[in-house]
């Protein structure tokens, strides 16, 4: 499948994960989120931006616990937990937030 953003076609895999992370932009993130039934709020962006920062350093999405700790630091300890992340991304913060952030899908027994 493919998305269209700013007039350009952007390639994605069968499930809608971008095949090239460098083609990501904020407009596209909003579009992917909408397809997932999510309206992006500043809290969603905090998560998405952290995922992208972490990925650019480590070439992988952060472990769930690394993410919750980072969110606790940025947004307060009451939000640094799995339940809160599931509220933001109901299909699972790992997979759904990665898709919106343009990251590849985490694979394996997760």
């Amino acid at each position: 499948m493919a998305y269209t953003s700013n007039g350009a076609a952007i390639e994605a895999d069968e499930e809608g994960y971008l095949t090239d992370i460098n083609q990501w932009n904020e407009d596209l993130a909003g579009q992917i989120a909408k397809d997932e039934g999510i309206t992006m709020t500043p809290e969603h962006w905090e998560v998405v931006n952290f995922l992208r920062e972490y990925y650019s350093e480590y070439q992988i999405a952060p472990a769930v616990r690394v993410l919750t700790k980072a969110i606790a630091k940025k947004m307060g300890p009451d939000k640094g937990n799995n339940k809160y992340l599931y509220e933001l991304f109901p299909y699972g913060p790992g997979k759904q937030a990665c898709k919106i952030a343009g990251l590849p899908k985490p694979t394996g027994c997760v």
Binding site: G37, A63, V64, T107
Partner: protein, 500 residues
């Protein structure tokens, strides 16, 4: 949670064994994504189906029949007694008659008869023999990816026909002609390229483990370490990479670390063998199984460890317990006083028995546990030295850690355990309907003990089971955090420090 676009099976009484009404073709459209060339070629498989694939498939089948006598016997010996028909969780959850184990095996058997039996060659119509065609291949692709290779049917088969082996053979044939499954083959490629199923590179692993050490210190005040690539350590721990990444897996990993710490045994993880899982088994490919296993040997050699211990991973333990010696042995360089390899539950259980660690059940106050036997541990391996150790040892460890442990219905545990619904290379999002429906027998038995005995949590000892239950529990109105790692319970109960 948004409503699912499919029906959720109703849960009844596990003692009644209701057989669902037949729904022919109900799951005919269920199939995982096909592997692209980029996922096939690193494993040495053709990138796509090419002309002449039918003959190559039959040639490959012939090779497997002569290599594995068991497969040949399974093809010939079935008497259609029907004992297996209502034993598969995917049949019970979907009602699709092709998910009866005998019907699934017949998808393979019908082709076998056409090309490898005298009557099938001359009069195929008489014996239900079929040509290998695109239609047959599509059916194989769909229904051999609706078998989690859990082997429950084989327990009830009077001849011991193992549908898992048939499904492995079918997948191997499909890989060999360019019709591979994306989920498994992409993951195996990551193991070769990066070292684990997740694709977690060494720097990310180190960063993650450092964070966990900080967490444990904050929580307990004790500097429990998660060492990596430490040469000369006593134990190499090989664990599924999900233990570094997902919940509740990571809580189990913390538990292993606390046990090693409390026991005073030096241990290390390895960046080279940063994965216990071996998806080579799911795709039925011996060469891949061997190649994946060899990383463990190399890591053990390089680090000079004396023992190898496996973390909580069902199919990894089957590969380790049943095949590791032939795949990657001999292990004569390890300490022969210990089992090669050993399971973390054997290690912990032994320490509990010898009072090498102390557990305080109040760490799990308020929890009533039940335990899900992982299919590959239950039916593909053993623990300890006694028959049935794979059932008694996990239960002994849990019972020592929690105030109360109860079992689910006897027809759903131990050697009759149901698959979680996501095993055997099916733990992928596009198969969610199959996974939810296939989990219904387990959910039925769970609901029974929740309602009647006040169970609050279910312990699992396999990364796939943990991920599967976390995902599907909410479909049955259970909390996703109801599934816990066995060593998470140990972690909550263990007394750290002052163990002399």
């Amino acid at each position: 949670m948004a409503a699912a676009p499919f029906d959720i099976p109703a849960l009844g009484d596990p003692a009644e064994h209701p057989v669902p009404a037949l729904k022919p073709g109900a799951m005919a459209a269920s199939k995982p994504y096909v592997a692209a060339e980029a996922h096939q070629q690193p494993l040495g498989f053709p990138g796509e189906l090419a002309e002449g694939w039918e003959k190559r498939a039959i040639d490959h089948m012939g090779g497997l029949l002569s290599k594995y006598r068991s497969l040949q016997v399974f093809m010939d010996i079935c008497v259609k007694c029907g004992a297996c028909t209502d034993k598969c969780h995917y049949f019970l959850g979907t009602g699709d008659p092709k998910n009866m184990p005998v019907a699934r095996a017949d998808l393979f058997r019908s082709v076998y008869r056409r090309y490898f039996t005298p009557v099938g060659k001359i009069a195929p119509g008489l014996v239900g023999a079929r040509d290998m065609t695109r239609e047959v291949l599509d059916e194989w692709y769909s229904y051999f990816h609706q078998c989690s290779q859990c082997r429950r049917c084989s327990v009830f088969c009077p001849y011991g026909i193992d549908t898992a082996e048939i499904s492995m053979a079918a997948r191997d044939i499909m890989d060999s002609i360019g019709q591979g499954q994306k989920y498994c083959n992409e993951i195996i490629g990551k193991v070769h390229r990066i070292g684990n199923n997740l694709g977690l590179p060494a720097p990310a692993l180190l960063d993650t483990l450092e964070g966990l050490e900080e967490d444990i210190l904050d929580e307990t005040g004790v500097p429990v370490k998660l060492p990596v690539d430490v040469a000369g350590a006593e134990v190499l721990l090989v664990t599924p990479s999900a233990d570094f990444f997902a919940e509740p897996h990571v809580l189990g990993l913390i538990g292993y670390a606390k046990v090693f710490h409390a026991a005073g045994v030096s241990w290390t993880l390895s960046t080279k063998a940063s994965e216990a899982g071996n998806f080579g088994m799911f795709i039925g490919n011996y060469e891949q199984m061997k190649k994946i296993s060899m990383r463990i040997r190399e890591a053990a050699r390089e680090l000079g460890v004396k023992r190898i211990i496996f973390g909580e991973c069902g199919h990894a333990w089957r590969v380790a317990y049943s095949f590791l010696n032939t795949l990657a042995g001999p292990w004569d360089f390890l300490d022969s006083r210990y089992p090669v390899p050993q399971h973390i539950l054997e290690f912990t259980s032994d320490l509990i028995r010898r009072k090498g660690i102390r557990l305080d059940k109040s760490g799990n106050d308020g929890m009533v546990l039940t335990v899900h036997d992982s299919c590959n541990v239950a039916r593909g391996a053993r623990m300890g030295t006694e028959p049935g150790g794979q059932f008694t040892i996990p239960r002994a460890v849990i019972a020592a850690s929690v105030p109360k442990l109860v079992d689910m219905h006897p027809d759903t545990i131990c050697d009759k355990t149901f698959c979680c619904g996501g095993g055997g290379g099916l733990l992928t999002d596009e198969l969610i309907e199959l996974r939810v429906k296939g989990a219904s027998p387990r959910m039925e038995a769970l609901k029974d003990v929740v309602d009647k005995q006040g169970v609050t949590h279910m312990a699992a000892m396999c990364a796939i089971c943990k991920a599967q239950f976390t995902k599907i529990l909410p479909y049955y109105d259970f909390d996703r955090e109801m599934v816990v790692s066995v060593h998470q319970l140990v972690s909550n109960a263990i007394v750290l420090g002052d163990n002399d």
